[in-house]
């Protein structure tokens, strides 16, 4: 799985590459994917094969790690519908594959899930789970839990109705589907549902927290990360922003968007839920990674989940009950004043709420939040969470919302720009117990790549200019860097080859929402292009060009 383990720590126990020798890393081999859209996926290593999923058209390559240069074993082409490109909000990305029981599972942009025989590359099954005609697409990496493939839909900018679906890993048949808006029976809320806070208790809140039938086109998809606690037998995952972005047309808490669920993976039953941003004002999707840790809090070891949230706070929640134990800012925030730990509610700043026909300025963090999809990693050795994120603010004017099925449902004009300091990206090493940053590294562009940390106390990440960097996990000191061909927005992985040697690999290929200006060839004269992200990235086309290449590094 892309997150390395069910707890989503992205921590590798390999220790050949260390802070002392990382400076000697050399390029070992490369592989061109032939695709030049944003490469967000984590390469997956299973035994002696590496599997690489590309952006649309979502090719799956199998590379033979037993041979020098890792030659291609086979390619699987799912041939997704070309029209799916018209319902992908933020470039044509794919975040990777999962392995289970001899098969590789992943999703295609046109809302299908496929199972491919890991040895032969033959398709085992392919299931249509969503409909691009309704604006649904899939970009997330699935997670396989107890023989069920968990997938969710993207389309918070297209007025979809969000869901998480479990497919039988053997057959691809639907096991259960839980919607994130609508009546309790659709959301799979029943007798076991015990949310911690009172505002989350009541019948059919997924209907009554919306005006009229707005819940039917209210967004709340799942396109981020899922974690699993085998002891509690609970899966944890977040839900996306409500639609449209213009908050004035959807008064109410808009449940269960911009929040998260704890569910039983066997039947999908909801056990608890929480909303990071009830009645979300800024496209602050709640889909980021949930890192499951057992941490000492006030003298007790608590089973928690740590979430660097888009709205700007690192949350620590009790993962058994859903209680917010702490929420601390990890960057510059003007939109809220904190989180009320009594009610669990975000304390919003009224004058920063978007209004129809009025330009509201200095909204920080901007729509992509303090941090978007790009996953953090946690080292049990340093007890730090390595958070790749951005430092962006925006001006916004909400507008007229017209729902036309299969077309965007946003109704806001946005113009993003760098936050205080001018650096648009940051890598923050966060101490979740001390509730403060240990150190941070500033980057010119948003750090849109994931991070990985190793037992050798090295943190790897990439920049949108194309630098792949190794930092000392304890001090943040840069140990090594390599310039790849295109900007890096992928998830680096650390693996051991069949001969026992440690490698670090990453996909280079700029794109994603942040890099759409390059991947989509956008015109920088329009500040509102790509939902306003282009205004903050006008100099990216000078810094990098399109690409699609896998790089693997090792010690000499």
């Amino acid at each position: 799985m892309p997150a390395r383990n069910f707890a989503s720590t992205r921590y590798s126990g390999l220790d050949q590459i260390t802070a002392a020798n990382a400076g000697q890393l050399r390029l070992a081999w490369t592989f061109s994917t032939g695709v030049t859209r944003g490469h967000e996926a984590a390469p997956l290593v299973v035994e002696s094969t590496m599997y690489v999923v590309t952006p649309f058209p979502n090719l799956l390559y199998a590379l033979d790690l037993t041979q020098p240069g890792a030659p291609l074993k086979w390619t699987y082409k799912p041939a997704p519908a070309l029209a799916a490109q018209g319902v992908a909000c933020c470039d044509l990305v794919n975040r990777g594959a999962a392995y289970f029981d001899g098969k590789i599972y992943y999703n295609t942009l046109d809302a299908h899930t496929v199972a491919v025989d890991a040895k032969t590359g033959k398709e085992v099954w392919k299931t249509k789970v969503g409909d691009i005609g309704r604006g649904e697409s899939i970009t997330m990496a699935p997670l396989v839990v107890k023989g069920k493939v968990l997938v969710g839909n993207s389309g918070g900018e297209f007025g979809v109705r969000g869901w998480l679906t479990a497919l039988d890993a053997k057959t691809g048949r639907l096991a259960w589907r839980a919607y994130h808006t609508g009546p309790d029976k659709d959301v799979l809320i029943g007798a076991r549902f015990k949310p911690f806070y009172s505002q989350d208790r009541g019948k059919d809140l997924g209907v009554s927290s919306w005006p009229g039938d707005a819940w039917k086109i209210g967004g709340g998809g799942t396109w981020g990360w899922i974690s699993y606690d085998p002891d509690l037998n609970l899966i944890y995952y977040g839900t996306s922003n409500p639609g449209p972005w213009n908050p004035e047309v959807r008064p109410g808490d808009n449940k269960w968007t911009a929040g998260m669920f704890a569910r039983d993976p066997d039947n999908g039953e909801a056990v608890w839920a929480y909303q990071w941003s009830p009645h979300d004002l800024y496209d602050h999707d709640g889909i980021n990674e949930l890192v499951l840790l057992d941490l000492p809090i006030k003298g007790q070891t608590r089973k928690v989940l740590v979430r660097p949230e888009r709205n700007g706070y690192v949350y620590v929640l009790d993962r058994q009950t859903g209680e917010v134990l702490s929420a601390d800012p990890y960057g510059y925030i003007t939109t809220s004043k904190g989180v009320d730990l009594k009610t669990g509610r975000l304390i919003e700043v009224e004058e920063k709420a978007p209004l129809t026909g009025k330009v509201v300025r200095e909204i920080c963090p901007a729509a992509p939040g303090m941090k978007d999809w790009q996953p953090s990693s946690y080292s049990p050795r340093t007890r730090l969470l390595y958070i790749p994120h951005q430092n962006l603010c925006q001006d916004e004017e909400a507008g007229q919302a017209n729902y036309i099925e299969g077309t965007p449902y946003v109704a806001a004009t946005v113009k993003m720009y760098a936050g205080p300091g001018g650096n648009r990206g940051v890598l923050t090493a966060w101490d979740p117990v001390g509730r403060k940053a240990a150190w941070e590294v500033k980057e010119k562009f948003p750090v849109w790549s994931g991070t990985v940390v190793t037992a050798g106390d090295v943190v790897f990440y990439g920049t949108m200019e194309g630098w792949f960097k190794a930092l000392d996990a304890r001090s943040g000191k840069e140990l090594w860097r390599f310039k790849t061909g295109s900007g890096i927005i992928g998830q680096p992985v650390v693996y051991r080859d069949p001969h026992g040697k440690e490698y670090v690999a990453v996909l280079s290929g700029v794109g994603g929402w942040a890099g759409a200006v390059v991947a989509g060839g956008l015109d920088i004269r329009d500040s509102s292009a790509a939902l306003g992200f282009v205004n903050a990235m006008k100099d990216l086309p000078q810094a990098t060009t399109k690409g699609g290449m896998l790089y693997a590094f090792a010690l000499p």
Partner: protein, 218 residues
Amino acid sequence: MPLRYPKRISGGCHPERSEGGETIRARPLFGSFATLRMTSLRLWMLGLALFACKREHRDFYGLPSSAAVTKPPVREVELVPGGVAPADSGPGPYEENAYAVSQGKTLYNQYNCSGCHFQGGGGIGPPLMDADWIYGSRPENIFETITEGRPNGMPAFGGKIVTDQVWQIVAYVRSMSGLLRKDVAPGRDDAMQVRPQEQSTPKARRVQSAVPKSAELP
């Protein structure tokens, strides 16, 4: 079949007005006021009519009926065997009508064109303010793109938007890359300004140059 555009009611007031809109003659505003007291209501009305004639020409009743606009020919290529260059069919039906172009701008936003192409810079769909045209820059090409869709994500809006409005959107889309006269292209925004005005966008005319997304597939 040749393309039949709706009949344009040609403005007869001041045909000498230049394309750039720089030589707009002085309007007899003060003169009209000076004689106001002495003239009869009829004369005053005449003056008003003359004044109105000075104003920008608007074809309120010149809108084409759906039947008047036949399905346009598709011609996306410049290469013609035998070397006979295809005749240019000229401007679209509303390209000299500022009111219609302005309507096109409103419709462009209301039909969610802006959801993908934003204010011309692109995002989900390609930019519309630059010189690159994947499926052709001629009015008929753009008409067909809107009504029939294109394979790489452009939805087919045919049957969903009435033909007149499609032509208004076509005219507005062409104004985004400076293909319309400056005095016809919109000069202001109703919402937060995010791009240079259409009327000050430099003309970027290349019929076709961009690689369609499908050709990028490995």
